[in-house]
Amino acid sequence: MLAFILRRLLQSALVLLSVALIAFAMFRFVGDPVNQLVSLDTPADQVRQIRQSLGLDDPVLVQFGRYVMNALRFDFGISYQFRQPVTALLAERAPATLELALVSALFSLVVGIPMGVYTALRRDGVLARLFQAVSLVGVSLPTFLIGILLIYLFAVQLGWLPSFGRGETVKLAGGWTTGLLTVSGLKALILPAVTLGLFQMTLIMRLVRAEMLEVLRTDYIRFARARGLTTRAVHFGHALKNTLVPVITIAGLQLGSIIAFAIITETVFQWPGMGVLFLKAVQNVDIPIMAAYLVMISGLFVIINLAVDLLYAAVDPRLRVTLKGA
């Protein structure tokens, strides 16, 4: 088990290192970082001094080492647009994105899994076919279009929910601002969370359905039925449990991509999160922010992956044994 975790950690470190390499290459070679810091009339020797102080004359490998060391201390340099440390900019906007992502993820799981189970069990039912059709539409509609549709319906036409912003937020310890504690904050969260979660929800629904259909064909389900267990015990005990094991992996990875997909949702709803910051960076060629965002997202993916692996081992007894042996 320990060996397994160690191997996983090593793999994760390698992934992070290669992402850091890309981030560093962007940072170092796409546009001269010095040019962003000086104006046209800065004297040449002052420019040279800045180059030196930034360490840009050192060998590339040394520079990369420095970049990685700084990244480990969450130092990603200064934003070209805002002239502020990138880390501070990201940290300020992280709560908005993370809350949005978390609520969307919950929404997609809580709705997607039951819908998948239902459509698998009632394969030919009218409602199941309807769910299937709706899910296909959900996969085909671009996120931003869904967002616009929801805004038009619930904000413009019905006026029930706000169409932009986070509503009122409350400051918590550690500088974390939350919109989950005020009515306006919660109301503001509904539309973006649904928009962001809808795609993942349909994906999870289709995945659960496919997996469940597969499980229902297995021998142990046939044997469970042959033993006269109630339909409920067979479907929601045996079949569901086996269905959810592989679903954990993919759902976990989906949660990771929710954070990246938040870029679109945040733009539609003018949500003050990291996604909007990243988009602005892309538009204005603010490389330090782009690089930092890339590293941060991959870091999140690595953590989620690790968590999923451990969860997997906790759920599946077969894996526990192979891990013990490893």
Partner: protein
Amino acid sequence: MTEPVLSVRDLTVEFVTRRGTLRAIDSVSFDIAPGEVLGVVGESGAGKSLTGTAVIGLLDPPGRIAGGEIRLSGRRIDDLPADEMRRIRGKRIGMVFQDPLTSLNPLYRVGDQLVETIMTHLPVGRDEARRRAIDLLAEVGIPAPERRIDGWPHEFSGGMRQRVVIALALCAEPDLVIADEPTTALDVSVQAQIIALLKRLCRERGTAVMLITHDMGVIAETADRVAVMYAGRIVEIGPVREVVKHPRHPYAQGLMGSIPALEESRERLQQIEGSMPRLAAIPKGCAFNPRCPHAFARCMVEKPVLLESGASRVACWLHDGTGLGEETAA
């Protein structure tokens, strides 16, 4: 004569597909007396397993019972509502599948699967169910059952798992066990043990067995009577000694001729030329006619019915007794 545990009359199973309706089981009839072991043999695809599946009511669509009836101790069960049939499965009819490696849910402890089954069918509490589960495991020959009951299926070997499967099939004391190729997936060394175990447990309890297999050796050793199936039909049924020693149907003769251990005098094992027809292309008349060395005109047009012949019954016009069989086409 005592009432049979299982009585199947003219059972017909069909699969409705886009290309038409396929008849997988064609008017099959047989009885199993209490405590009796009926062997069902035939090539794969002959409809043996499907017969067992139909009896226990687990046919999956597009398969369906298209005709005939199934009676359990005189009560008709093929038309029962789903939930009533569910109560019969496991309680009155137990089932053992072919592959013990896939029969047990890998995510449930062995004991939980036993306790769950016992509590579904018997009015006992969890503690009592667990006690019974341990007794059962001991009875099927699992060493240290009070410890192994909390093990996971993957911690058991194939043979041990099949013992657990047998315990699961017998845990509500059914009147009939359908064992579908119970040893095919096992090592040769443990096959005999599992068959002996199954036989002993069923004899002790007076449980009847429908033993589906293609292994004639197992049949000869275990069964009281044997039914030979071919292309969805029973071609011969009778006491095991009769069918093995004096098979009457040409197919059964070929089948028995292919058993090495039972025939000492023959220099060469027989084999039957050709292969069983696909469901979509079962010939008119006797399904065996393209491969039968004795086929004559009547076999091509008229489907043979089961005819008395000595202690057996056989579906072959050679045994019609009208003498028509003599004019065998050259």
